[in-house]
């Protein structure tokens, strides 16, 4: 096995960057390393020699971006006559190449082998995401890019980038540079420049991964305050401002002018159709304390129901973003607080027990006709002693009461790695291989549920990750042929 080549009838041909680069990557992965895991079983028999894997992609689209609607199907046929990867799209070809790389093995003598194989594969869910939080801790660009590599090994296809939050604002805004200058931990070193962002988006694209950017408002915005005076609500104690700030101030026109300009930028920088607009954990205390807001509430007839004020903000924001031809994903509070959203809004379920158990929440959301993303049982930042990947694996996203049409509204889910206790020192071992359990749950058939079977494969896959230079932690007692050594 020497190379990958395009079939003559393939819509993708040399010059297709997505696949040209993938061929290079997979060639390096397969052929440059000197050590390999021995396979489970070897049957010494005469093996016909193959010279290359032929790839046929039936629809063009090499310079496009992957989307929620992208097909990722592929078939892989390895037999005496053929060594053939067939897919509709380049994204499917990427998935097939990854599978191929997991089938190839090398004998101690140095010969490469692959078993006779017949694979038809496609993902169960189209949205299979991983959330990284670059606000609580800055993550160097290399950490993000490395994570994208491993996501591709696991067939994840959405990078949910929670860029900013209370703690810091590392996104380098060209419309409002003060946001970054005053909001980042260190504007010289702890920021993502426009170039960085472009690099992430293209790096992801070449791996069939969408970048879903999140700019969470109106809560989780403390770091926006210093660079945008007047944006956040001044909190009061009695009739005096305390000097502290709360969520975005929803009663000022300037707020919406700001958001219009800001989201115009965001919409142009991030090419995916969807933006994540946040909307979680809005603390009403500060709003309540502010006399101007109290007047506003009275004027609008909201009474004492601050959920209506939140609705008012979110709806206005959603209209702004819709005008930029973007779709949006929001956290479940937006739905729970009865904000009027467009029917094609995607709701992300993250709360395990409140206001209801997450399975019930999935039922309510899909029952109301909205598409849903599941994250609640997949908060990988919640570490615990022992093989917690098992609980992660055993989640069945469609395990709720609902019609088939309802269940079809569940478009997938996301493993979340919030950053309170995570930075580049411990990100990789905390993510991998645990996130792999989520990856399989979202890609593979719902019938694939045997934890023992998964354990066998995931253990070997973890050693393969080590071989590929990923700092993936162990699942249990044991060893890999080549252990991780610090460089």
């Amino acid at each position: 096995m020497v190379a990958f080549r395009y079939h003559a009838s393939s819509a993708a041909q040399p010059g297709c960057s997505v696949l040209d680069e993938a061929f290079q990557r997979y060639r390096d992965l397969l052929f440059s390393s000197s050590w390999w895991q021995p396979p489970e079983r070897t049957r010494k028999q005469h093996a016909p020699e193959k010279s290359s894997l032929v790839i046929l992609v039936s629809t063009p689209g090499c310079n496009e971006l992957p989307s929620l609607e992208s097909g990722e199907n592929y078939t892989l046929t390895i037999n005496d006559d053929h060594c053939f990867l067939l897919s509709e799209t380049v994204w499917g070809a990427l998935r097939g190449l990854e599978t191929f790389s997991q089938l190839v093995w090398r004998s101690p003598e140095g010969t490469f082998f692959i078993n006779k194989t017949e694979i038809e594969d496609f993902p169960r869910f189209p949205h299979r995401g991983l959330l990284l939080d670059t606000s609580r801790h800055y993550l160097p660009l290399t950490s993000i890019l490395d994570t994208l590599d491993v996501m591709a090994y696991n067939k994840f296809n959405v990078f949910h980038w929670h860029l900013v939050d209370d703690s810091s604002f590392p996104y380098d805004s060209f419309t409002f540079p003060e946001l970054t200058r005053k909001g980042s931990y260190d504007p010289a070193t702890h920021i993502y420049t426009a170039q960085d962002v472009k690099e992430v988006i293209e790096y992801a694209r070449l791996r069939g991964i969408r970048v879903l950017a999140e700019f969470d408002t109106p809560g989780h915005t403390l770091s926006w305050g210093p660079g945008a005076p007047g944006l956040l609500t001044p909190c009061y104690s009695g009739s005096h401002p305390t000097g502290t700030f709360g969520p975005v101030n929803p009663i000022l026109n300037s707020t919406y002018e700001f958001m219009s300009a800001f989201f115009l930028e965001v919409s142009s920088v991030f090419p995916d159709f969807y933006l994540h607009l946040g909307g979680d954990e809005v603390d009403f205390t500060c709003w309540k304390s502010n006399p101007d807001i109290q007047s506003f509430m009275k004027k609008q007839g909201f009474g004492n129901d601050f959920k209506q004020l939140e609705s008012f903000y979110v709806q206005t924001l959603l209209n702004i973003v819709s005008a930029y031809d973007k779709g949006y994903v929001v956290w479940q509070e937006v739905f729970d607080n009865k904000v009027k959203v467009r029917p094609d809004t995607i709701i992300q379920v993250w709360r395990e027990e409140t206001p209801v158990r997450y399975t019930k929440e999935m039922e309510l959301i899909t029952g109301a006709g909205f598409r849903a993303l599941l994250s609640a049982p997949w908060y990988l930042n919640h570490i615990a002693y022992g093989p917690d990947w098992r609980e992660v694996y055993m989640v069945e996203p469609l395990d709720f009461k609902g019609s088939p049409q309802q269940k079809a509204l569940v478009i997938g889910g996301e493993a979340c790695m919030w950053g309170e206790y995570v930075d580049s020192t411990n990100l990789a071992p905390r993510l991998w291989p645990r996130a792999g359990a989520v990856a399989e749950r979202l890609w593979s058939s719902e019938l694939v549920t045997s934890v023992d079977f998964a354990f066998k494969r995931l253990t070997r896959f973890r050693c393969e990750l080590l071989r590929r230079g990923v700092q993936a932690q162990p699942l249990s007692v044991g060893y890999c042929e080549q252990e991780f050594e610090e460089t």
Binding site: G225, T425, N426, Q473
Partner: protein
């Protein structure tokens, strides 16, 4: 000029400003006594030296100190926050240019190995142009150099300063250990070395090397080469005599003792089958094996020879003999063992058989002129210990009662129970480790003096080279301060400030210590 326009002036207050500093700067663990003055002295790498001072009984022939001087110079100036230093000649006058190191006793112990009685006290006078570090032994110098290196800081323009200070320091507890488990997962040599470095940064002084256990036997024995041949995961997952020697010396240069643990009679599945007890299913051997077989003379011949080797390879006075979690079911299934029990009059008390075994091993070790440490079960199950046997208390439930019991019987104790760092959970668990007070148990003053210290344990079921360092640090640092510093150093908010900075310093020195909480370090992490 020599003024520094702070980048802070340009930044204004951002939400990412590091938390307000502690009056004790970033010292970790906090010294027993320190006086810091607001006056500060400027230093520069090209105009600073660490030297042997006048009257010191150690000189350039002391390789331990020579190595330490070089290491600490590098820690102080080699890991600048400012990436493009290039060792440029400093433009400003420096005020502090010399640190004199003076060993004040006749025998510096330079070429010796550290022990439980090693003197780690030091006195540090930071003044200009010369500062003086005095200690009776090299071990105190090592601790003092670490402290001095923690007093140093860089301002926003890259100039180095230390504040005028007087520090008198010594450890509260003499035994301050880290347990590493190289059986559940093999740990490459480099990882162990990196963690020995981190231990030195935190003034830990014992590496408890739990080297073999059920899953694998990576220790290469010269007496019994079949042990690792059969017991290691693969031939590559082995510690050769050279590797072991390397670790012992690496540790020694940092004032760290290496105490090996060869845990028996349980936890021995990876050992040679002929010394394990064959388990029975009814009248027939089942094919599986249990703990070490205590009824055979051959067992004790084997153990004598093995411990003779171990005693020679590892220079420390102590060997850890294990003795934990012995499962009696295999013994009770074996008819030969049953007969032996009868002969000895042990009845059905397998704990007596366990004690019989352990007492013989304790005697073997004593005859080899070594002392023993054992896990608490050995004591709990009634074995007669040697007078200087140390009992390690590891079971969490009511461990204070156990400490009381052990010390009441006159045995020395070390505490591990509240410090099982392998038991991870979400959040700032370092605070609970910090909050432990080892002597919080009912006992007399003389009882409490029997508590030699404690250990942070990082069992290896879910830990290997990929995640060991971030999992151990800075959580183990909390244990480090608890064991070194004075009993009344308990202010968690001050500790948090110092530890946050100490963590960033460990990062700068190449230790992938994980974050304590939200925030950042002023040098780009990795």
């Amino acid at each position: 000029g020599c003024g520094c326009r702070s980048r802070q002036d340009l930044l204004l207050l951002s939400p990412g400003t590091p938390p307000a500093s502690s009056p004790f700067g970033s010292l970790w663990p906090l010294p027993q006594s320190l006086r810091v003055s607001p006056e500060r002295f400027r230093l520069a790498p090209d105009q600073f030296q660490i030297v042997h001072g006048p009257g010191s009984s150690a000189g350039s022939s002391c390789s331990l100190l020579e190595d330490a001087f070089r290491r600490y110079y590098e820690y102080m100036f080699g890991y600048s926050k400012w990436q493009n230093r290039d060792g440029k000649k400093s433009l400003c006058e420096t005020e502090l240019s010399l640190l004199q190191v003076i060993i004040t006793s006749k025998d510096s112990e330079c070429d010796k190995f550290p022990s439980i009685t090693s003197d780690e006290a030091y006195h540090l006078q930071v003044s200009k142009p010369t500062s003086v570090l005095k200690a009776d032994k090299v071990w105190g110098v090592l601790r003092g150099l670490e402290t001095f290196s923690q007093l140093l800081y860089e301002d926003d323009c890259g100039s180095y300063f230390v504040h005028e200070s007087v520090i008198s320091d010594f450890p509260r507890f003499a035994y301050r250990g880290i347990l590493l488990d190289t059986s559940r997962h093999f740990l490459p040599l480099k990882i162990i070395q990196t963690n020995l470095d981190a231990m030195a940064f935190n003034k830990f002084n014992v590496l408890h090397w739990h080297i073999v256990d059920d899953p694998s036997f990576p220790y290469q024995s010269t007496t019994f080469p079949e042990l690792n041949a059969q017991g290691a995961f693969t031939p590559k997952h082995v510690y050769t005599p050279t590797d072991v020697h390397n670790i012992i010396e690496y540790a020694r240069l940092r004032g760290i003792r290496v105490i090996p643990e060869f845990d028996t009679p349980g936890h021995t599945q990876s050992w040679r089958k002929d010394i394990l007890t064959p388990c029975y299913s009814g009248k027939h051997p089942s094919g599986s094996y249990g703990p070490i077989n205590p009824i055979l003379n051959a067992t004790y011949d084997f153990m004598m020879k093995l411990f003779e080797e171990v005693g020679n390879v590892f220079p420390d006075d102590y060997i850890h003999l294990g003795g934990d979690e012995v499962d009696f079911s295999c013994w009770s299934s074996n008819p030969d063992v049953t007969e032996f029990m009868k002969k000895k009059g042990f009845g059905f008390w397998y704990s007596k058989l366990e004690s019989y075994y352990v007492e013989k091993i304790l005697e073997i070790v004593t005859s080899l002129n070594k002392k023993s440490i054992i896990w608490q079960e050995v004591f709990d199950d009634g074995a007669k210990l040697q007078p200087d046997t140390i009992v390690e208390v590891w079971k969490k439930f009511l461990y204070q009662l156990e400490l009381a019991r052990v010390t009441k019987q006159g045995h020395q104790a070390i505490l591990a129970a509240p410090w099982y760092l392998d038991l991870i959970s979400y959040g700032e668990d370092w605070k609970s480790y910090y909050g432990v007070e080892p002597l919080n148990f009912m006992g007399s003053k003389s009882q409490k003096e029997l508590v030699l210290g404690g250990e942070a344990c990082l069992w290896g079921e879910y830990v290997d080279g990929t995640n060991l360092t971030p999992r151990l640090w800075p959580r183990a640092s909390a244990v480090g301060e608890r064991l070194w510093s004075s009993k009344n150093v308990t202010d968690i908010s001050d500790a948090s400030k110092r530890l946050t900075q100490h963590r960033c310093r460990m990062l700068r020195r190449g230790i992938a210590a994980q974050p304590l909480f939200v925030g950042y370090c002023t040098t780009l992490e990795q």
